[in-house]
């Protein structure tokens, strides 16, 4: 059995009120140490107020080849955007 520490994906909340964002990955034997390593690797300059770690093996990603079928349906629906509608200036800001 390989003894290489498994890979974890790291997500950091930059400030209160913001989403956690993916910042990179690291190796750690378990979740607790993954958090500690993430503190040292990704927050040496006050980059965060909260850390999530997720085993990389647990991430399911969409396939790049499916980009068309996945996102095309929303591309075609221009009426979902406010700019689709012409509103007269007289009405004021809307």
């Amino acid at each position: 059995m390989s003894n290489e520490w498994p890979l974890w994906e790291v997500f950091i909340r930059g400030q209160h009120g913001l989403n956690h964002r993916h910042v990179g990955s690291l190796h750690a034997p378990d979740a607790e140490l993954a958090i500690r390593h993430a503190r040292d690797v990704y927050t040496r300059r006050n980059e965060g107020v909260s850390i999530w770690v997720v085993p990389s093996a647990q991430i399911t990603a969409s396939a790049p080849g499916d980009k068309g079928p996945l996102f095309e349906p929303s591309n075609a629906k221009v009426y979902r955007h406010p700019t689709f509608y012409d509103i007269p200036d007289e009405v004021g800001h809307m």
Partner: protein, 325 residues
């Protein structure tokens, strides 16, 4: 640079796929790990990013050497923070390389087996405190020139690692210049030490960019794939132009009598480094090659029981948790 003399790997794939890939690169799109890519692109990147990562890690050795002997507590804290950053930079880069399907342990073992390299610059010794200032200023300064360009490299994870590294690297160059400034404006003995450090490290720093690659086939392929953004000569000239005024400000003599402003070119002329020395250092004959590799091998061997023990503990804890559920 940190990835000197990286040979591009040959690619032998479907011309239609290659053309579509090249079109994405030409359009300025970033390539992401799960996208189709030519095998040559993948292998060249693994080699370049891996070599870059090894350089960050080995680069801790010449500076770590001075942490316990820093002249003040403040300088000690600064140097400790810088060396810790280098470890972090190595980790960002290993993590970028790993998205290409190679593991960090594979890369480490390839380095220890002599199948991968690190930058030639770290095979030079840091003999005294002035060298530590000069390394931060000149070596990290040269690295920044290279890494700023690489922020636009075509492989997404590599480009993002470069953005993060560049943000932190500026502290490295500035703390080094600050330390040298104190010596250059200090006693005559301190000034002489600063001069000596600049004289010794100038050409090794110039070599960091690698020999001229204007006629290199490998560089042409890497530039077409935007793995490389500038030629070695362009980056070296940029480094020279930005560094000469910094030397002059210190009141130090220029380390190369060939450093002369060329009005017609709008650049400083300079003497080429001794490339036979460069090749000799890459071959393993630099002043510190053996020490550096021995230090890496020792760290790897001495840490094995610890890596294994934490893994064994994690497996047992997970099994216990499973049994309790």
């Amino acid at each position: 640079m940190y990835a000197q003399m990286v040979k591009s790997e040959a690619t032998n794939e479907d011309p239609a796929l290659l053309a579509a890939f090249q079109a994405r690169i030409d359009a300025g799109e970033k390539i992401e790990p799960k996208d189709w890519m030519p095998e040559g692109y993948r292998q060249t990147l693994i080699r370049q990013i891996g070599q870059h990562a090894h350089s960050e890690v080995v680069g801790q050795l010449p500076e770590g050497n001075w942490i316990t002997r820093a002249p003040t507590l403040e300088r000690k804290a600064i140097l400790l923070a810088k060396v810790q950053d280098e470890a972090g930079h190595g980790l960002y880069l290993y993590c970028a390389a790993e998205t290409l399907g190679v593991s960090r342990d594979d890369l480490t073992e390839a380095l220890l087996a002599g199948k991968m390299k690190y930058s030639s610059i770290f095979n030079y010794p840091t003999l005294n405190w002035a060298d530590i200032g000069a390394v931060g200023w000149l070596v990290d300064g040269a690295a920044i020139v290279n890494q700023v360009a690489l922020q636009r490299t075509s492989f997404g994870p590599y480009a993002r690692a470069m953005v993060r590294i560049c943000k932190e690297e500026s502290f490295h160059a500035r703390q080094g210049y600050h330390a040298i400034m104190q010596m250059a404006f200090g006693t005559p003995e301190q000034k002489a030490m600063a001069q000596d450090a600049v004289n010794r490290l100038w050409f090794p720093a110039m070599m960091m960019f690698g020999p001229s690659d204007k006629d290199s086939v490998h560089s042409a392929q890497s530039m077409a794939w935007k793995i490389k953004i500038n030629t070695n000569d362009e980056l070296r000239q940029r480094f020279v132009d930005q560094t000469v005024p910094q030397i002059l400000y210190l009141g130090l003599d220029l380390p190369d009598p060939g450093l002369v402003w060329n009005e017609a070119r709008g650049h400083y002329d300079f003497t080429e480094p001794d490339w036979s020395e460069f090749y000799d250092v890459l071959k393993g004959n630099g002043p510190c090659n053996a020490d550096r590799m021995a230090a890496r091998q020792k760290a790897w061997d001495d840490g094995a029981w610890f890596r294994d023990a934490l893994m064994a503990h994690a497996r047992k804890a997970a099994a216990r948790k499973m049994a309790a559920e």
